[in-house]
Amino acid sequence: MSTPNPWAPPPSATAAEQPRPDAGDPPPDAPAAPGEPGADERIEWRRLHKVTPLLNAWKAAAVILGLAVWNYGEDLAQLDLAWAMKILLVVGAIVLGAIIGLVYGAIAWRRTRYGIGEESVFLHSGVLWRQQRHVRLDRLQAVDVTQPLLARLFGFSSLKIESAGGAGSNLTLSYLTDTEAQRVRNEILARAAGVRRTGQAPGVAPAPAQEAPERPLLELGAGRLVGSLVRSGFMIVTILLVAGLVLAIALTRTFQLAGALPGVLAAVGYAWSRFAGEFSFRLGLSADGIRLRHGLLEAKARTVPPGRVQALSFSQPPLWRRKGWWRVRMNVAGYGGEGEETTTVLYPVATTEEVALILPLVLPDLGTDRPLEVLQAALTGTGTDEGFIISPRRARVFDPLTWRRNGVRITDTAVLIRTGLWWRTLAVVPHERTQSLAMTQGPLERRRGLAGVDLHSTSGPVTATIVHLDVETARTLLLEQAERARRARRHAGPERWMSRREGGEPDAAALRAGYAGVLPAVPAREEMP
């Protein structure tokens, strides 16, 4: 065949076809053998804490016990043995599982080591299938410190570094002592931020990185959390379900409907996981970005550096309306697709005033002269007030109720998309964070001269879709938005968020001034140092 083969490597640009480092897993043959990641860089290799196998062993024990009960539970019950013997057998299964888990864990622990370089974090692990994972610091999306219940009781934490390669693209160090985890996190964040420590003799252990000063902003009380759960949609369904069940049982005097119980249990489980996960939710701000702490049994402290929040959404189920509550969710590249609801929550239940405080954390400047009015119109408004573009009248066929509510407002810095009359939602996407844009039109929309616009963001709970705009408006918006996004990208902050400052300490005062932003903070909180 005479045509050039498209699979042949082109003369110049093979490098760009390689999986990019931000995919989390660099090709295995990339940076040399363990211990020499950079040419002239010396990595200090460290081990996880010795207690790791012990903390992991109970999992193996639980698995073995589960398998044993599943397979032999009935046999055991029917066996003609004394109770003491049966209990002994169960205990034996647990001990066996624990020992197997412990031995495997000990080998795994010996094989696992990590190091922090100037450019990357390294983790080498694996017993039979070895793995070397190097995460580039400038591609870091978030750092989580998690304390599962058991580890928390004994003062151990697990540290997770998220990068943007979809689910599973993280580097997890478990377990470290609480202080060690703090130290490693500060170290990683300081290096990722681009804070260089100068005048350090090679070979000398570096001074521990300072934790970025943190300003607590909001704390969620248990009362409001419970109230929000009670008022949430699924809770109402559950209560109706239970009521119906009780009624049916009372009327028929049979337990025929007890089959619905698993559903009820699942709902209760969900409510519990929401309650436990979002208990004592605290939001703070540090030079390293947004700090989130939450959890009743399993405590988490998460740090999302500046510029890592790709999109925000504020949503309000119908029963939250009277309270003026909003659930704030975010798209962060590393968290996407992990499936856990709480991971992508920026604040579980915020009042409207708190919304005006949270939005500036992600978007210091809303890009308009009347930020509060625009925000209010975006949250609760309808119609074209404050410069919103809504569907034309002829879209009533598709959205008889919501056509005046569905709308978009483009400011100098972001796109605000509001939808839903009963289930209100506002999506906010900063211009520099859109990946690609698309305009779509189905056959029915075409007959009405309508079209929709999608702003593509990284995977997460926030979708930015504008429905049923006038087709000319949609096209203008699409092309102008492409231009706006391009300009915004050019002025976007660096991946290493401190590198714009010339050395020295992070300027917390300047940062606060920036974050206080156009939107006034809640006055009571302003007194914080």
């Binding site: 498209p6 590249a333 698309a438 039109q441 976007a492």
Partner: protein, 161 residues
């Protein structure tokens, strides 16, 4: 023309190869035509109502036969200075703008039929899973040119996430 809204002023669209029509028609013929033939046999034996199935399948084939050329001719792409534009669809239309700087990687793919016809599909991936930026039915030379052009442009305008 009605599709004016999905045109961009000052942009000349590149079309994909007409060979794609043949490949897609062949695919349809295999996946719908063969079942249609297969259902004729029981219809001949049993008769009456059993003719419904092959009739529906044949209608589908005829519809696809009519639709495919329109679909293929509706596919257009344009390389602007900073973005790649892709236009698609007859019934469900879309116009996608992908900034080169947002590109994470490029795929060039071809199945056996496409390869026989000397064609390949180029697909651009960004950090968003919802980006649908695939251009099917490019001649191999054009596919490899476009791939190189995209990787080059992507490198020059590289942006983070």
């Amino acid at each position: 023309m009605e599709s004016a809204a999905f045109d961009v002023p000052g942009v000349t669209w590149n079309r994909v190869s007409d060979r794609l029509i043949g490949v897609r028609r062949l695919t349809v013929a295999v996946f719908l035509g063969i079942p249609a033939l297969a259902t004729v046999l029981p219809a001949v034996i049993v008769g009456s109502a059993m003719w419904l199935l092959p009739a529906v399948l044949v209608l589908l084939v005829a519809w696809a036969w009519w639709l495919i050329p329109r679909q293929v001719r509706a596919i257009g792409y344009a390389e602007l200075e900073d973005d790649l534009l892709i236009r698609k669809g007859v019934l469900f239309r879309s116009l996608t703008v992908v900034p080169y700087g947002r590109m994470q990687y490029v795929d060039v793919q071809a199945g056996p039929l496409m390869r026989r016809a000397g064609m390949a599909q180029v697909q651009l991936h960004t950090a968003s899973a919802s980006t649908d930026a695939s251009i099917p039915g490019l001649l191999e030379a054009e596919a490899s040119r476009l791939r190189d052009r995209l990787t080059e442009a992507g490198e020059a305008r590289l942006a983070g996430l």
